[in-house]
């Protein structure tokens, strides 16, 4: 091997071919401040370093020719320099701040979120269901937020001086046509959906996105869970019924089934409701829900189906009748909702979906019968392009179909049919613009065309948000909102127009560690409200769009789960000033559903030793206006204030078994919702009245919840 030295020389010189070049420079942020610890390297090589305290970097490389220099740093957009390595000396690099969805500015005016990771969440999923007095109804939990008023006898959402019909509910972006169980007058309803199927709840009390329409006051957006964590079976036994649920997972597909039977008869036998009611057959229902999800590489398909069959037979006191008035109801509801989301290349996202609902009621009032049927559907497609973390654009279109028919049959055989068919087209365009981490804007516009009255509407929506510091921010929102008159009116008259509301909102929010403060001032201008000239809307009423009104107020929210260990509480206060001239009002007045002051406190305390969570909620509402026909003034009287103190106790027997107790209105406050006056005065010329009170002051609930899963750890604490 006499040539060995030659090879060595060859090898040596080969190594020498890696001539070393120095790459150097300085990295700063937008305001020329040094960035420490940025990762600077040549793409695809090991050559690189981190910047020092002064933002300087310098490293040697053997690479030659055109290279890509990468500068990456958390919370900044990555920066790339492409060029010959020899030019990479004394570089002055300014990194652009990345838009941070977590700590940056957010568009929050009018919106409350309840979700897992969302920073604007004021409620966590668990809160929704462990709030005392809510009894597992997430709508009842939302009623502890400011901007809502507790209308004890109704159970639906009344937002900022708006009627319950002004709030719409959406699941995965698709409209739910009958979100609440059917019920009798003065018997509160509940939301149809079990909260645990949803991963996020957004509750907007005004100024919401152009994506949503046909709601004058508020939208409630529910998003179903994408992928369940594990297979499990849930069993529940309650004082009012029983339920069973199961989740099965096959790879990327999963199916959750849930069924519940409710019967209030045993409870009513034990603790009968006595205040102005007699149950002939207390509320009884059977409900089923199924959610199927299929996740692909870039797409997600979800399908929700719900079925509900409910029956009740009640007799209620009425000043205009000698005997109690009998009311029978059988409701059948079927709801189907399918959505598909697909992520294309280049940041295009497609969302499509359809919902279909069928709702039939058989109502008996004394001897008369009313049969109603509504078939409604919603088709929607929207496409979103994200240009950068600073700019995105959404364009969408949707189509609503409503076919309603009703047959009234009186004892003497007289029958009367009403109904209507509506087709509503809508399109919307919306853009989120982030000027910086401190300043953002949402701009949108929505147009709608309704075939029922051949009317076209255009609603602009704007919201702005500005961050004043690390924790505080101001938001402003404006929007126009249109909604078709409700079924109760449309079935008699289709020559009307949409009702209109304009929202103006100013919001301040402070997010400290474990502490949230929000204050919001708003003004709502109502126009084109429906008026009619009879007691109730009926076939011979004269309808018009001549009504109007306003609502203004202040909402304050404070939540703290840090100051006292194991204690979490929130306090809400709302001031509401509103008057409207609508329905059969003879002049503008504050309606019965709009108390001036609402206040609530919710507390939750975790007792580690007892493995228990104890909750306490207090709700207060100032007196509600009512009209006394004996007085010359219109709606000048007020009921006494509303008070409710509720307690609950969840005890974990072991990791998978929970015992739950709750008492609604534990102190038995005697609340009065309204007064009903006789249609005609008595012999001495006085209109007599009776108070409309809850069927029972207090309500007791006991439940046992058992989860069976492979990991032996899950439980239904978040179903309670």
């Amino acid at each position: 091997m006499k040539n060995q030295p030659i090879y060595l020389i060859i090898l040596f010189s080969f190594h020498c071919l890696f001539a070393q070049t120095t790459v150097s420079g300085t990295v700063t942020d937008g305001s020329k401040r040094a960035i420490v610890g940025a990762n600077v390297y040549l793409e695809g090589t090991y050559d690189g370093t981190s910047t020092d305290e002064r933002g300087n970097f310098s490293f040697e490389t053997g690479e030659t020719g055109t290279q890509t220099l990468v500068i990456s740093m958390l919370s900044f957009e990555p920066h790339y320099e492409v060029g010959d390595v020899s030019y990479f000396t004394d570089l002055q690099i300014q990194l652009v701040e990345a838009i941070n969805s977590l700590t940056g500015v957010t568009l929050t005016a009018g919106t409350f979120e309840a979700g897992d990771n969302s920073k604007v969440s004021v409620l966590k999923p668990l809160d929704i269901v462990t709030t005392a007095g809510a009894a597992g109804d997430f709508v009842a939990a939302l009623q502890t937020l400011p901007g809502t008023t507790t209308i004890n006898e109704d159970g639906r959402l009344f937002v900022r001086g708006g009627d319950a019909g002004e709030t719409q509910v959406f699941i995965d972006g698709l409209r739910v046509f009958q979100p609440f169980n059917a019920t009798a007058n003065n018997i509160p309803t509940r939301g149809r959906f079990s909260p645990f199927l949803f991963k996020g709840i957004t509750f907007s009390t005004g100024g919401y996105s152009a994506e949503y329409g046909q709601a004058l006051s508020s939208v409630l957006l529910l998003n179903t869970t994408d992928v369940p964590d594990q297979e499990k079976t849930d069993i529940s036994a309650m004082s009012v019924g029983a339920g069973i649920g199961h989740t099965k997972i096959w790879g990327d597909q999963s199916l959750s089934l849930n069924t519940q039977y409710i019967n209030l008869a045993p409870y009513e036998t034990l603790i009968p409701s006595t205040q102005g009611v007699q149950w002939n057959s207390p509320y009884e229902s059977i409900a089923g829900e199924a959610v199927f999800r299929s996740k692909g590489e870039k797409g997600m398909f979800k399908c929700y189906t719900g079925f509900n069959l409910a029956h009740l037979d009640i007799a209620q006191e009425d000043i205009n009748f000698e005997d109690f008035v009998r009311f029978q109801l059988t409701n059948k509801n079927l709801y189907f909702n399918a959505s598909y989301r697909y992520f294309f290349d280049k940041e295009w996202t497609l969302n499509t979906g359809a919902s279909l609902s069928w709702d039939a009621n058989k109502v008996g009032i004394i001897e008369d019968a009313i049969d109603t049927e509504e078939i409604a559907s919603h088709l929607k497609a929207k496409i979103k392009k994200t240009f950068s973390s600073r700019l995105n654009l959404t364009v969408g279109t949707e189509y609503f179909v409503t076919d309603y028919s009703e047959t009234f049959t009186s004892t003497d055989g007289f029958a009367f049919d009403t109904g209507y068919n509506d087709r509503l087209w809508a399109t919307f365009v919306e853009s989120d613009i982030f000027f910086s981490n401190d300043f953002a804007m949402k701009l949108g516009v929505r147009s709608e065309y309704s075939t029922v009255f051949e009317d076209f509407t255009l609603s602009p929506r704007v919201s702005l948000a500005y961050k004043t510091g690390k924790k505080g921010q101001f938001s402003l929102a404006y929007g126009d909102f249109y909604q078709n008159p409700l079924t109760a009116i449309l079935r008699y008259d289709q020559s009307l127009r949409s009702e209109k509301a304009s929202h103006y909102i100013l919001n301040y929010q402070f997010l400290g560690e474990g502490k949230t403060f929000r204050a919001e001032a708003y003004y709502k201008d109502y126009d084109d409200l429906i008026k009619f000239d009879t007691e109730m809307p009926q076939f011979n009423s004269t309808f018009s769009n001549s009504g109007s009104g306003y609502a203004g107020g202040i909402d304050v929210f404070w939540r703290d789960n840090k100051s006292i260990q194991n204690l979490d509480y929130w306090v809400s206060y709302s001031y509401l000033g509103t008057e409207r001239d609508f329905k059969n009002f003879r002049e503008a007045a504050t309606p019965n559903f709009a108390p001036e002051h609402s206040f609530s406190v919710v507390t939750k305390y975790w007792l580690n030793k007892l493995r228990s969570q104890v909750g306490l909620s207090y709700l207060f509402g100032s007196g509600r206006p009512y009209n006394d026909p004996n007085s010359p003034e219109f709606f000048a009287e007020k009921t006494k204030p509303f008070n409710n103190l509720s307690v609950n106790w969840a005890y974990l027997i072991d990791q998978q078994k929970i015992l739950y107790f709750s008492v609604n209105n534990v102190l038995g406050f005697d609340n009065i919702n309204n007064y009903r006056y006789a249609n005609t005065p008595n012999a001495s010329g006085i209109f007599e009245r009776h108070a409309l009170r809850p069927a029972a002051d207090s309500f007791f609930f006991v439940g046992f919840f058992w989860t069976i899963s492979a990991d032996k750890k899950s439980n239904q604490l978040n179903n309670l």
């Binding site: 981190s50 964590d229 594990q230 979490d568 072991d654 750890k713």
Partner: protein
Amino acid sequence: MKKLIILTLFLTSIASNAQDKYTKGMEKAFQLWSEQKNLDASNLFERIAMAEQNNWLPYYYVALVNTTASFGEKDVEKLTQQLEKAKEFIDIAKRISPDNGEILVMEAMINTAWIAFDGATYGMTLSGKNAQLYQKALELAPANPRVVFSKAEWDMGSARFFGQDTTPYCKDVEKALQLFANFSNDTPYYPSWGKNRAKAVLEQCGE
């Protein structure tokens, strides 16, 4: 023949050169990490990861450095950045090496860091995920000491939270320690942490 020898030498030279670069880089990164220079260590692991896109280990270590640095971190912004970075890199590692028990344990550790930071917010949602991750890791790698130990430690934590007896899990920790004693993997820089922690946990067992 000569040419062949030269070529062979030349190629092995390049190969060992590349090997050396990886070894040198990893050694340097571990050194930085041991000197508590977490950011520098993370940056270097990241640079190695970017150059070795088929090797899950540097990605794994970016996640490990950022996650361990997050335990005890009080600054929510910093914690979020670190844990999001850890999640981003462990997700890539998972794509490179699917069905890897070590990676699942790492993923669960990121969740645990969130729970440790704010149990009220993340406990309910992430503990279900962790239970499943550990379950799957154990199915994939029943003889991996880190898998056995991490699952036992997690189960102990849950039992403690519910005021239950933690002693049944002590035998799992013991089993993990036996596995630690016999465990070996030929891949250079294969994860090796956990033995001392397991010893410490076992010492406190039953107390």
